[in-house]
Symmetry: C2
Subunit: 472 residues, 2 copies
Amino acid sequence: VSFAKITAADLAYFATVLAPARVLTDAEHVARCARDETEDFCHPPEVVLQPVSAEEISAILRYCNTRKISVTPRGAGTGLSGGALALHGGVSLDTRRMNRILHLDERNFQVTAEPGVITQELQEAVREKGLFYPPDPASKGSSFIGGNVSENSGGPKALKYGVVKDYVLSLEAVLPSGEIISTGAATLKNSTGYNLTQLLVGSEGTLAVITKITLRLIPAVPHDLTLLVPFRSAAEACEAVNAIFLAGIAPSALEFMERDAIEWAARYTSTAVDLPQDIAAHLLIELDGPEMERLYGEAEKVADALARFDVGEILFADTADQKAALWNLRRKVGEAVKSHSAYKEIDTVVPRAELPVLLQKVKAIGARHGFRSVCYGHAGDGNLHVNIIKDAMSAGDWITRLPHGVHELFTEVIALGGTLSGEHGIGVVARDYMHLAFAPAALDVMRGIKAVFDPNGILNPGKIFPQEKAAS
Amino acid sequence: VSFAKITAADLAYFATVLAPARVLTDAEHVARCARDETEDFCHPPEVVLQPVSAEEISAILRYCNTRKISVTPRGAGTGLSGGALALHGGVSLDTRRMNRILHLDERNFQVTAEPGVITQELQEAVREKGLFYPPDPASKGSSFIGGNVSENSGGPKALKYGVVKDYVLSLEAVLPSGEIISTGAATLKNSTGYNLTQLLVGSEGTLAVITKITLRLIPAVPHDLTLLVPFRSAAEACEAVNAIFLAGIAPSALEFMERDAIEWAARYTSTAVDLPQDIAAHLLIELDGPEMERLYGEAEKVADALARFDVGEILFADTADQKAALWNLRRKVGEAVKSHSAYKEIDTVVPRAELPVLLQKVKAIGARHGFRSVCYGHAGDGNLHVNIIKDAMSAGDWITRLPHGVHELFTEVIALGGTLSGEHGIGVVARDYMHLAFAPAALDVMRGIKAVFDPNGILNPGKIFPQEKAAS
């Protein structure tokens, strides 16, 4: 695939579509849009465009489609699979100026927003009306709702409340042809034609540019309680996860953190954490519901279910400060790992009960290839973020051995009934393993769908689909 | 579009793929597969094939794809949009022999089944293990899970627990080319490529033939309580629906029935129902949860929320017999209407708070065109089944005026933020109104997707897509 380089004439055209101040080629904007939060990738676009409407995006896409200029839609750049990286240069379509909440429909428990609204700001706006938008990726303080939709993000509360896809009722999106379509309706049920809404959710900006998002909301849940449970064995912590569900408890979050994860996050955030030498991992468990009384009862049931494991002293957090401190620590693990060393993060997901086997496989593969790994994640969903740490490994070993290890790990994950990504998306980081998850005929169907939306392949090229044979 | 007629050579080939006893051309099988539960449509297939495996289906599709023979997948024939009707003759692909529950994974709260398993049997099998599969279409006693997936069915409990699409984790399906693909993984979270699972759910057998279904399950909910609330005004009953939600109550079901609906169902099922002359409509409300005590409290909150409406005496049903009687009545409304007169059912859905306006529009359009209508449905989801009754209308008026009325109604529904079908699918009954719900560019995308899966258009031809300009 080859794309046209952007010329002075192209820039002049963009300046007629957008205000010239929103056609940006300066070093600062280009450098910002060259990166997201994925490893240390850097792919500068040739120009950053900041549209404010679907109509502007329509004009941009129509032009780029004709000119064969690649267009990479961009949210806040907090993605972990490289979705916002302009691999082929071209246009970085920066949605930060499309940041309005268009309609908060309190009567119908719905909100319609532009893609550049910050996730947490959307959550706070609906909470003021007694409503709740649960998906809460670790980056929610800066991530955009449009990016969350494009990657089908999760977060801790996905366990009880579902991921982004479970909240999107309808989308407005612009096709590469410039046509503006609406995919669904503002209804809780919909059996009207193919589900284009769910096809666009998680499509990583490769099919269309999302310009309007209608989400369902639920009533706010007034009470919650957090437990931090230290385990002397990481394997036992993983086993305990399913034991909690089998005991009939449905936590609103159930996170696993290996010792290194919590230790590094504590250091990174300068938080004092009491971490006895013999503790190998923690579970961070949140219970929520309409009555505090009932939550204390459930917390006791959790403690009972954990009694047969070798756990340390359980920390109950029920004040706002205590809870905030624990969850801040959890949310900062990713950044802490990133600051520690070069690393490769693998967003594995398996059926929940297979988590202990997965952890064991991760460590065995690491031992075989000489990798150190730090694991943490949304254990209740079987979603384990495996971070392979470069540390003192040689650059040569890192480059030659890593793909083998990742290939082995994904092979094991799929054998366990799992798949390549639970919530980060495929992007560039997992594209060359897609043939492990899908038969050639299924990948061909996906390529066919891509061609229906984007026959010239201008939208976010290089993402999702395998570019080369993976190491085997 | 024209399809090949089935020849003796074709039948001979099918008999080599299937056991000859599963290649059926006798009058009885053809007559059974000529109909579903949609109005009085009758479209006999040329042959009924009863495969028992994905491999057999693969061979059938590969052959029919080459020969351009149309293939219409069929579940139990309980559909209400004509999905199982072989409009172009050809093969009726009858899945009734693929009726095994393949794996009930108690550890992971999942079940994998073939498409021909009866919905209620699946529900009962998982309930024995303390698990719950909520979607419960009225036909659950005979409908197949494969048909439910193909139409993205709902039912009363969709209100609290979601529709079929919210439970499907992964599908195995056969493409018209004969390729067998798997669409997802047995995981609760999945951001791995385009969501082919959700694309196939609700695709009405037009893209691929589903051969294996993996569903997530939830823990069984031990207690429930049902309330039957009579209203002196149908408009007020509709207004009361949203009042219940705004009062902070989340019922597990909230059904609306006009007087005629309950009266006809009572007669049809020979059930004695006390129905004072001044009652115009009922709400049937179910509350469920882990504690009976709490449900009584919620029932009081419901009664409080309804105090400002003109309601009759509320019937509380908390014994199994009482509850079963009420829900049986509700489930039989559809059959009762069907037995009463020729009719046209419209599966409207709007944002919940717009229900009172919808009902008013239905009656106004009816008055304008001389239609009588009986309305009932899943009011909590804004999903109103509008049944236009032929009664004494002349055949001429029925044929000429009905499309105008339906067109007007759908136009109003869409203006309210709603769409054409909440849970029945488009099939043949709403296909000519699809241009009201989708822009030409969106319909073109759907047509493009259809061509990716099924380039020769052999799978369930004539469904979903408009065949002609609708009356305007």
